[in-house]
């Protein structure tokens, strides 16, 4: 490894967490499809249950294949460890459920994936956890939303689909002043574009379904702890984190902050969260994500190259009224993105056609290389027309509040030959224009 630093990104993407299997010599990571792992003795069994010794017991709690994924993503993010989960939503829920209970409060960005917005606005509220939503760029709004019972700040690195960049440094400062951590959804950027922990975030999670896996084959999530947030100090100052800094009778009266100065969150999240809520990841799915991560650097570079070409093409097209990508000076996050995301602000973005809902449909139907489906971050290019699919029940006024018009199209730029992508878009734009004639 060069100099006094961790190995480089691509080396970690290939090697972190994995060595040749000592039993078989297998070089690739084996898929350990075993629910359970044999104890050496009764004493060993008791020691594992009591956290005296570290090891695998049951695959809902941990699994050797999943552990490789957890170490690898931790390495890429600069974290201290991670927990893989059944989905990105499961990672978000695990984080919230580990840190708080009824009576708690979250301050979250308005620019969230719809599923996250649902979880916070509707579902967690049913369990007594309230959320205040703040526009990600409204720095004073973040501060003003803090309540005595606030336990968490939450935002996305770049909001979906408007790509509003979260000023992680400024927002994390406000969170830390309030004695709470900042959780960041880094799904759309991946650590190749941005490492939120280096900017001040404390916890990061991914829908690994997207770019980490990268091939549209698997549902998976992962939450990474940066080890930076001092739960014990915050609890001593304002009593916010008894979940981690007080004896927990649900687990041997353990005081997690005494057991680990920097890793209390992960201890409780695994030992309570995976044990009780059980949203674990299949080892087979973990392996598929690992397979994707091995080429993450190569893929992200190509995603960015292709995205730049598509953005340039669309921005110059007469039938396009707006392209929502920070590459363009017209984007509200252009300056912040250049500073925080020098390699690019992602390949999922939206643009507006000068046309009706029907013309939007015609555009999507005419595409041949882009696939019309509800996902992002695939190696294949994807498209969706929000007004007729994900947001079809919403009025024009409600759509406008969300930054969506009848002509808004969301793209996820894949790895195809860029000339073919541009040709496909040209053909579809012609079809959309004709549909309005």
């Amino acid at each position: 490894m060069p100099g006094y630093s961790d190995p480089g990104f691509d080396t970690l993407a290939l090697h972190a967490g994995a060595a040749p299997d000592p039993a078989t010599g297998a070089r690739a990571v084996p898929i350990h499809l075993s629910t359970s792992f044999v104890f050496e003795s009764s004493e060993h069994a008791a020691a594992l249950f009591n956290l005296e010794r570290a090891g695998h017991v049951y695959s809902r709690i941990s699994n050797p294949t999943n552990a490789v994924l957890e170490q690898r993503v931790s390495a890429l993010e600069g974290g201290i460890g991670a927990i893989s989960t059944a989905s990105g939503q499961a990672a978000l829920h695990l984080t919230i459920a580990t840190l708080m209970g009824a009576g708690s409060h979250i301050v979250a960005s308005t620019a969230l994936y719809g599923g996250s917005q649902n979880l916070l606005h509707y579902t967690m509220r049913r369990f007594g956890i309230e959320t205040s939503f703040v526009k990600p760029g409204d720095i004073d709004g973040w501060r003003a939303a803090v309540r005595p019972e606030t336990k968490l700040f939450f935002g996305e690195t770049v909001g979906n689909p408007g790509l509003v960049v979260l000023d992680i440094g400024s927002v994390s400062n406000i969170a830390h002043d309030a004695g709470v951590p900042l959780l960041v959804d880094s799904t759309l950027t991946t650590p190749w574009l941005l490492k939120p922990l280096e900017h001040g975030a404390d916890l990061v999670y991914h829908s690994a379904t997207k770019f980490l896996s990268g091939h549209g084959t698997v549902i998976a999530g992962i939450v990474i702890d940066g080890g930076s947030f001092d739960w014990a100090a915050s609890h001593a100052a304002n009593g916010k984190f008894g979940e981690l800094a007080e004896p927990y009778d649900g687990f041997h009266n353990m005081v997690f902050t005494d057991e680990s100065t920097v890793g209390a969150f992960l201890l409780r999240a695994r030992r309570e969260g995976l044990r009780d809520f059980g949203a674990c990841l299949s080892p087979h799915s973990a392996w598929l994500v690992l397979q994707g991560i091995e080429t993450l650097g190569l893929r992200m570079a190509r995603h960015m190259d292709n995205t730049a070409k598509v953005v340039e093409f669309l921005a110059g097209h007469k039938f396009v009224s707006r392209v929502g990508h920070p590459l363009l000076e017209s984007h509200p996050s252009h300056t912040l993105a250049r500073k925080m995301l020098p390699r690019g602000a992602g390949s999922v973005f939206s643009f507006d056609l000068k046309g009706s809902r029907e013309q939007g449909n015609a555009f999507v139907d005419a595409l041949q290389v882009f696939s019309h489906l509800a996902n992002v971050g695939d190696c294949r290019s994807l498209v969706i027309h929000p007004a007729s699919t994900t947001h079809f029940r919403m009025s024009d006024e409600a759509l406008a509040l969300g930054g969506i018009s009848q002509g808004t199209i969301r793209l996820s730029i894949g790895l195809e030959d860029p000339a073919d992508l541009l040709e496909d878009l040209k053909r579809a734009l012609r079809a959309a224009e004709k549909a309005g004639a």
């Binding site: 972190a16 005296e52 390495a75 014990a232």
Partner: protein
């Protein structure tokens, strides 16, 4: 639990177990810019198998008040005072790196108070390179990166302090940053390295130790390579040497092997 040592609040990890005077006691002493938590996979086990465990944060580190010890001898004073405060006459003294020098000095200064001596990742002399000494004072983040690189030996460690999925490069870095930030008055990083660097009494101390002594050395340790412990091994009256497959942070990189060595050695 909290003890008052020399009038200062001192945090001691006990694995949540109350102190029991009927049990033997093991004192675990951490190294430079670490705290009690580096011992988690050894302390918790011993505490649940017949031992009182006292794993303090050294003065001025993490949750313990006071000034960081300015020398190995001063740190030894602290350990003996800690034993007094806890009402412990005799204990197994277990130290890692700088903590190993402290344990050695204590076992030499008060041989009757050391039932066992365990030196993990030890070297004598424990000279610190001028570059690292300087960086620890003027560019601690650079020094943390250096120590982190030198202290780990594998990109694929086994399940460790946080269970499966622990990433030790990140964990050690986060702990060092946290301990450094825990003392805004004194740079505990530089103070610790200076104390290691200045300690001249190792061989003489080893000759005075009467307790059986276990050396736990990391096969891939770049900070304190096994060969750097050999003068102490030669000077020890009752040495046992165990080499484990890990780097300098072997308690975390090879937790099972370190624990097995400890349990074998500490058997009554």
């Amino acid at each position: 639990m909290e003890l008052i040592v020399n009038g200062r609040k001192t945090f001691c990890y006990t694995a949540g177990k109350p102190f029991d005077a009927a049990k033997p006691t093991a004192i675990f002493i951490h190294g430079v810019l670490n705290d009690h938590s580096v011992w988690i996979l050894q302390t918790r086990s011993l505490a649940h198998h017949g031992w009182n465990v006292l794993a303090p944060d050294l003065p001025g580190h993490a949750k313990s008040a006071g000034d960081p010890p300015a020398s190995t001898e001063a740190a030894c004073d602290f350990v003996l005072a800690l034993m007094d405060a806890a009402g412990v006459d005799k204990a197994a003294l277990i130290g890692h790196s700088f903590g190993a020098l402290i344990a050695l000095e204590a076992a030499a200064r008060a041989p009757q108070r050391a039932s066992h001596l365990v030196l993990v990742g030890v070297a004598f002399p424990m000279k610190v390179s001028p570059l690292l000494l300087e960086a620890s004072q003027n560019d601690p983040e650079k020094a943390i990166a250096m120590v982190n690189t030198f202290s780990h030996s594998t990109l694929a460690p086994p399940p460790s302090s946080l269970g499966p999925g622990t990433w030790l490069y990140g964990g050690s870095r986060a702990l060092m940053r946290r301990v450094l930030a825990s003392n805004p008055r004194v740079n505990v990083f530089h103070a610790g390295f200076k104390a290691c660097h200045a300690y001249a009494g190792g061989d003489a101390a080893m000759l005075k130790v009467t307790a059986p002594t276990l050396f736990v050395l990391g096969q891939h340790d770049q900070m304190t390579p096994p060969k750097a412990a050999q003068s102490l091994v030669r000077a020890a009256q009752h040495p046992t040497v165990v080499t484990v497959p890990g780097g300098h942070q072997m308690m975390l990189e090879a937790p099972e092997a370190v624990l097995a060595a400890l349990r074998e050695f500490l058997q009554p």
